[in-house]
């Protein structure tokens, strides 16, 4: 491990999200100057529930594409693609999400996740599994200079 960087060598992850009260599950509220930023941080909020993202090193890059028919379904599929990566194969955890393309007419996203595979010793015990993304009370609210997103994830 000594030849690799440590989590403390990196700046703390920029977190533009918070967790709001919901009786059974977790409601993520994310924001950004642009819609892309709000989308990215909604996804990061999901990863931060599985483990502490500050403890995730940027050792691996993954790329996903997602499609939808409107903002809501696009957000759903975007987050679901990353959720799928987190619970299959190598159990990928992201510390940063970057949207490369966001087509607001065809409702398509191409995005990258920077992070690494889940390692029990370093990432374990710091969060819990996310079962699914839900449409429950989902809101994407784009304004001129700020976007807010509300999305409930099933724990």
């Amino acid at each position: 491990m000594s030849e690799y960087a440590k989590a403390s060598d990196y700046d703390k992850v920029e977190k533009q999200f918070e967790y709001l009260d919901h009786t059974a599950d977790v409601q993520i509220h994310s924001w950004g100057k642009t819609v892309e930023e709000a989308f990215e941080h909604a996804c990061l909020g999901m990863f931060n529930y599985m483990t502490d993202v500050d403890g995730v090193l940027p050792r691996k890059t993954v790329e996903i594409t997602a499609e939808g028919t409107d903002y809501l379904s696009l957000l759903y599929h975007f987050m679901d693609e990353f959720l799928f990566l987190s619970c299959t194969d190598d159990y990928f955890m992201a510390r940063q999400i970057e949207i490369l393309e966001f087509d607001k007419e065809k409702w398509k996203i191409r995005a990258r996740g920077y992070g690494e595979d889940f390692e029990r010793a370093r990432h374990g015990g710091k969060g819990t599994e996310v079962k699914a993304i839900t449409y429950s009370a989902m809101k994407v609210l784009p304004e001129a200079d700020k976007t807010d997103i509300f999305v409930i994830i099933d724990i």
């Binding site: 967790y19 919901h22 059974a24 599985m50 679901d80 299959t88 819990t128 599994e129 724990i155």
Partner: protein
Amino acid sequence: MGRSFDEELQYLERKTDYCWTIKKGFVPNMQVEGAFYVNSHLEKLMLEELRNSCRGGIGGFLPGVKQIANVAALPGIVKNSIGLPDVHSGYGFAIGNMAAFDMDDPESIVSPGGVGFDINCGVRLIRTNLDETDVTPVKEQLCQSLFDHIPVGVGSKGVIPMQAKDLNEALEMGVDWSLREGYAWAEDKEHCEEYGRLLQADPSKVSAKAKKRGLPQLGTLGAGNHYAEIQVVDEIFDKHAANKMGIDHKGQVCVMVHCGSRGLGHQVATDALVAMEKAMARDKIIVNDRQLACAHIKSAEGQDYLKGMFAAGNYAWVNRSSMTFLTRQAFGKVFNCPPDDLDMQLIYDVSHNIAKVEEHMVNGKQKTLLVHRKGSTRAFPPHHPLIPVDYQLTGQPVLIGGTMGTCSYVLTGTQHGMDTTFGTTCHGAGRALSRAKSRRNLDYQEVLDKLAEKGISIRVASPKLVMEEAPESYKDVTEVVNTCHEAGISKKAIKLRPIAVIKG
């Protein structure tokens, strides 16, 4: 919607001490009335959820009472949309919501939200012939042994070897697969809802993505509110029923396992929601809430979902069987004898997130209904043909898991429940505090200390979860169970208290 809390209250009426009606008009398009079972204490929590939602503001979510009403607006619904005493806000359907649809009505729908993402999340109870005095000297060792045998937490993988071909067979055969492979005892099948296998399951209706999520997770406990507990019989309310279950004295040791279909079930539900959104647009089905995505039962999407959902249900039974196998091994190791000698028989296994085709009497006529039970449990009465021979006189056992560190219950089904709620009762405590609030207000060490004070050993894979899962975050399961008992929809038989908890 813009109504004030008082205006909303006009649509709610207390019918009896334990039952409220939700009148048509509470939400648009209600086909039938809604109903919910609460006692005076639980009623406060229900109404508080409604009051908070009337305050408005951004964010927020629909209160359980509105969700019950939205379900009452679905095409083909029969009799009532019913909330059980543990009801609280979920997605689409409330958690603790039962709704039945007439299979003969072409408009009738099936809705994945009425089953839940964790298809066939359920509970099973395994007895032993051990007494608390046998277990106390080796309690820590036993707790550790269970924790070592059962994979739990984020990133955990199943220890039972599985290839893709095995998975397909497991999806089709359910408990029959576990039996064939030697992970289950023959008697386990007899004491399981549906005998552990939904016959119309079709593995080809489960997507590759779902299978990919499910393959490494078979035999894992998962996280969230799932657990394995070593419990001790604390009180016997119905001696006759308890005896039929092999429970004959206080202090008798049992093991309760609570888990579901893991990532596979979640993916099946997700995939169905996507397909049904398109079907709804095509068939012009209108619902009050997007998460109530549904399809006509007889449509391709409806049939595909049912067959895939049944396969996911079978997966959950294989999962619980695997965990039973691992539990028996763990006990056998610590007590240095074969699990047979410990009489570790399965008392019963129930599902609390599922939809089934069942025969019920409606207005004096026998009808075939698709009964959705989300966060609610089937509770069939004595003499029902679908329950095991052993329980013909006592009624079907219903297993109600309490929350971490609180007691659990075994109930039995009643004829009154069959008549009023299509044989449905509660499933557990139901949450009271949000996870965020729990994490803010409860201290991790305090929660653990409280458990230690009660003499409960605990092994948790996700410590963050400890506050969120603390008993204070949940409604009182005793209140919930007592309400069901007083309302006559199920009868108390046994109360159990935990002495060790394994959580994801």
